[in-house]
Structure formats: C-alpha cells, structure tokens
C-alpha cells in the first residue's frame, strides 16, 4: 500500500531524470530564440519571418498570467503598462535606468519600486532580440515595423485622432492592457 523506503530513492531518481530532460528541452528552445537576431532581419518583409517569429510563437507569453502589482500600478499612470514581452531585457534595463527623462517626461520612481519593476520586466522580457539591437521604443523594433508597415496598416489609420500615436496600442489592440495582441482582438477605429 505504502511506498517502501527501499523504493523511494528509485522514484526520486526517475523524477530528477525527468526534470533534467525537461530543463534541457527548455534551454534548447531558448537557444533557438537567442540565436534569432530579429530586429535586423525583419526590416524587410518576407525575410526573417520564419520559425517562431513569423508564426508568432514567442517562446514566452507577451505578458505572464501573474503580473507584478507595482509594475501594473506605476506603469499605467500615463500610458498602458506595456507588456514585458514587447521589448528585450536590455531595452527594459535602459528604459528603467532613464526614467527621469522618459520620452520627454519625468517618470522617476523610488529605488525600491525601480528595482522591483526592473526585475519583473527583465524576467519576462522578449527573448527574440539580442542586446545590440535593443531599442528604447517598442515601435523601433523590426518586429513592430514589419507588423505595422503600409502593407498591413493604411497610413490613414495613424492620422485618425482616435489613434493619435503608435504608443496607443489599445486604440486598435482592444485587449492590449492584458497583454493580448492577438489578431482576433484587433479593432481598427474608423
């Protein structure tokens, strides 16, 4: 009925082995993403749009199910709290190090808040870019540009006052605040 002490180490060994396999599989997946230098390639449509990138399989969700409460509160004061998966870790580090001059505004935080939010952003950052390509603006990424070029989005859409700026993700991505940028939740205002 109960597991004997003799059998127990065997069970543990099997479990550890299984975990080891799972970990190396996950690492292999990460390596694929790291190996892909998205920003440069994606400038041209049709190039670099292969594998995980083109298929929108990011390897990680754009926004984890459990979000950091300080991030949610502090980063949504002036704009929506942009999902951590929209930029690579190095970009977030740069953004968070320059909050006193944040796109023309002082958005400085206490050191404690800054550390907490940086950790959340970096831990959940996109793994599709390498550090040298780390842009400060989400809209400067090759991925963003390829998804929003004139083939995809008519220039008139950007001039619509309801859109106003490319920083207003939620103008078209109706569920942007919850990190949902899926096609089915896009509604371009008229």
């Amino acid at each position: 009925m109960f597991m004997t002490h003799k059998k127990f180490p065997q069970v543990v060994a099997v479990a550890l082995l299984a975990m080891g396999v799972a970990v190396s599989a996950a690492q292999a997946e990460d390596d694929d993403d790291e190996g892909y230098r998205g920003a440069g390639h994606a400038e041209k449509r049709g190039e670099g749009n292969s594998g995980k990138y083109g298929g929108e399989d990011r390897g990680k969700p754009v926004q984890p199910a459990q979000v950091n409460a300080t991030w949610k509160q502090e980063c949504s004061n002036c704009h929506i709290a942009y999902s951590p998966g929209l930029l690579p870790a190095e970009s977030w580090r740069k953004v968070m190090a320059g909050l006193d001059k944040h796109f023309g505004s002082d958005a400085s935080l206490t050191d404690q808040e800054n550390r907490e939010i940086t950790t959340f952003l970096v831990d959940n950052a996109s793994n599709r870019w390498s550090a040298p390509a780390a842009p400060l603006k989400i809209t400067e990424s090759g991925w963003f540009k390829s998804k929003h070029d004139s083939h995809e989005i008519s220039p008139a859409v950007w001039k619509n006052p309801k859109v106003k700026s490319a920083a207003n993700c939620q103008a078209c991505h109706t569920k942007a605040e919850s990190g949902d940028y899926s096609e089915r939740n896009i509604k371009i205002p008229r």
């Binding site: 004061n77 002036c78 704009h79 023309g104 206490t110 700026s165 207003n168």
Partner: protein, 135 residues
C-alpha cells in the same frame, strides 16, 4: 447577556462602518500642514497658486496641459492622451491623501513644467488653490 451581545453588535457595526471608508492615510489638510512645515514663516495663497497652475514656466507644458484649467474636471495626458482623474480633492477624494505619492508627482510634474523641483511655497500655493476649487 442581552447587553453584552448588543455591545458586541454595536461595536461590529461601527467597525464595519470604519472599514467601509476608503483607507486614506492623510487628509489634504494634513498634507498642506506638512508642506507648511517645510515653508516655515511663509503663508500660502490660493490666488497665487491658481496663477502658478495656469501659467507656463519656460517650458512647453503648464499644469493645465494635462489637468485642464478646471482641476475638478478629468484631464488627459498631453502626450499619451491617457485619462487623468480630477485633481481637486472636492472632485476626487483620493487626491492628496498620501504624502509619498504627493511628493512623487510634484517632483515629476515640476520637472516637466519648470525643469526643476518646486519650492514648498509653490506646492503650498497650488494645494491651497486646489482646495478652493468646488466640484
């Protein structure tokens, strides 16, 4: 028995009543008093605060760029267009109830509007003005 239970009943009703109130750490007047301590010897002026609030100070934005010239009305962020709740305590009871938050936003917004921190006198003037704004 009867008395004890009614006392317990009364106490719990009062406790529930207190719990239902929003848990604000400070009142706007307490915040104003704290600013007054930093501005020792200077008296605040709501009229001067209004002037300060509505004027530009050498940069692109003034307070009204985002908060509108009616602090009891909702505003919009000048750049991102995001809705901003009313600033006047008469229209928004959450305002000026947390000193850390007040300091955080004065630092940010004074930097954006004046390119420097505000003096205690300027902060006191502005809060005095906001406290006179009726809903």
């Amino acid at each position: 028995m009867f008395r004890i239970s009614s006392v317990i009943g009364l106490v719990s009703v009062v406790a529930m009543g207190l719990a239902a109130q929003p848990a604000f750490a400070q009142t706007p007047n307490e915040i104003l008093a704290a600013i007054q301590k930093d501005a020792a010897g200077q008296s605040f002026s709501a009229a001067r605060g209004e002037q300060f609030f509505k004027a530009k100070h050498g940069k692109e934005w003034s307070c009204v760029s985002c908060h509108t010239d009616n602090p009891a009305a909702p505003g919009k962020h000048a750049k991102s267009d995001k809705d901003i709740k009313p600033l006047a305590p008469s229209a928004n009871t959450e305002r000026f109830t947390d000193m850390a938050k007040v300091e955080k936003w004065f630092k940010r917004n004074c930097n954006d509007v004046l390119g420097r921190v505000c003096t205690p006198l300027e902060k006191g003037d502005v809060l005095s003005y906001l406290l006179t704004v009726k809903k």
